[in-house]
Amino acid sequence: MTVLLKVNSVSKTFGGVVANRAVSMEVEKGTIVGLIGPNGSGKTTLFNSVVGYHPIDEGSIRFRAQEISHMRVPQIARLGLLRTFQQTRIYGGMDCVQNMLISRSMRKASFLELFHRQTGEGVERAENLLEFVGLYEKRRLLAGDLSFGQQKLLEFAMALMNEPEMLMLDEPTAGINPTLINGLIDRLKRANEEFGITLFVIEHNMRVIMNLAQRIYCLAHGEVLAEGLPDEIRNDKRVIDAYLGAH
């Protein structure tokens, strides 16, 4: 098993607030790794550091053995490391199919390809993926008119359209209708198995993450509190305390 993402003692402060302190993590290729922790424990901050949203104070971040901590967001995305946002982001003024079409990866295409006419094959792939997440019926609706949960699904489909090597999802089930959560877990697993995408998932919902991840990291106060298999985490006293203490 090769390590795809290696975060090595990364620290990040905002003014005086320490959001991440000497955080180290590894994500192996082809796995699903979970990241949990109480609100404000620095999970989103870590994601932002990885995908290039802000500079880190210390440490190193390697993706496919390549140092990425100095790179910009689009560069990192073109390496095949994508993220979705906690506050869902889609292109509100375009319809779902258009959202999908423009999400196709630019890392293999030449720049001039942008000026070619749309191919039927691209549309078909877009529609298949929309079908996959259950948005086929809504494909001609403006993305901005979708509900929050539907936008989350669309954002997930857009990420799949990009064919990333690794996908980092920030709370994918937050705001989604509880009856649809099981379906979403199923789709995440299928994305991992069928498309071979490595997943790194922030999740607040313990039941979901236990179901989904093969390995889990727990952050508290910006530091790694525990790591291990789902069962180990479930029974870890420090994790239980952190969660109880936070509420």
Binding site: G52, Y53, H54, P55, R72, V73
Partner: protein, 304 residues
């Protein structure tokens, strides 16, 4: 290089350099005050107010008008403040309240439209000539290193009046009830509304207060310098630049940036020729924005 001999003159004559810097700093304080007002409206209402320079121009014409009517132009400072306050309220209730929560480009374009209207009306009414109002306060003359420096007293008076005005505004925002309401609204309008603050009134007051301050500054500009109907936009741009450099809500930074800009502009006017002074202002704007964006880009950020 046409400016090389000038540069030599500048380096070899410290008195001349000092003269340029003193004059630059004196007008720089006015830039800073106008910028402070812009930062206030920007911070509280999230509007970049392009009419900023027109308020200065209008305040200036109040002074010119009163001087022509035989009154001492210094009286125009409070009169301009009151008149511009009224104009600010009027503009707010006719136009601005409709665009407070729209995107920044809308407010940019709308206030741009307002500024065209104001400058055009003044042009129709007063004509396009360069005007001044003479306060007849004499000059201060001294010499440095054999170089005779002469500064008109009104410039010095204007400098101190501007500092006092800015200080009053600062204290007002910190201490008064309205000031506190303004700051609360700036931080979180929704929370302010919950606390029973009428944000609409706060916005109106903020917008008018800014107009009033800039108008008072304009009256001083008309006495210490010159005005004409179309000189508003450079003032707006200077304010914008100062706010970009200093950041919102940093009064020390605003003052420092204002004084620095005044001195730099005066130097550039001397070196490049006065005909390029406006080009310098706008060129500097572009440069400041690009440098700031580049600086943030190094930190994986951008101006927003």
């Amino acid at each position: 290089m046409p400016w090389a001999p000038d540069l030599y003159l500048l380096v070899s004559t410290p008195g001349l350099t000092l003269d340029l810097i003193i004059n630059g700093i004196l007008i720089g304080a006015i830039f800073a005050l106008v910028a402070y007002g812009m930062a206030l409206v920007w911070g509280v209402m999230n509007i970049i107010n392009v009419t900023q320079g027109e308020y200065v121009m209008l305040g200036g014409f109040v002074a010119v008008g009163m001087w022509h009517a035989g009154m001492h132009p210094l009286l125009a400072v409070p009169v301009a403040a009151v008149l511009l306050y009224a104009l600010g309220l009027l503009l707010y209730h006719v136009v601005i309240f409709r665009i407070v929560d729209r995107d920044l480009f809308t407010s940019l374009l709308a206030t741009f439209g307002l500024s065209i209207i104001l400058q055009q009306l003044m042009n129709i009414y007063f004509g396009g000539d360069t005007r001044t109002a003479d306060a007849e306060l004499g000059r201060l003359v001294f010499s440095v290193d054999g170089y005779r420096i002469s500064v008109s007293n009104i410039k010095i008076l204007a400098f101190f009046l501007v500092l006092i005005l800015g200080g009053c505004l600062y204290v007002f925002l910190k201490r008064s009830r309205l000031g506190q309401a303004i700051r609360a609204t700036a931080q979180n309008p929704r929370a302010a509304r919950v606390l029973g603050i009428d944000t609409n009134k706060v916005y109106a007051a903020t917008f008018a207060l800014n107009a009033s301050i800039a108008g008072a500054a304009g009256a001083l500009v008309a006495m210490a310098y010159t005005i004409h109907p179309y000189f508003g936009l450079p003032y707006t741009v200077r304010s914008f630049m100062i706010v970009i450099v200093a950041g919102l809500g940093n009064i020390g930074g605003v003052l420092a940036a204002g004084l620095g800009l005044g001195a730099a502009e005066n130097m550039a006017g001397f070196l490049l020729g006065v005909e390029f002074q406006i080009a310098f202002v706008f060129g500097l704007l572009v440069l400041v924005l690009l440098l700031r964006a580049w600086w943030l880009g190094r930190k994986r950020q951008y101006l927003k």
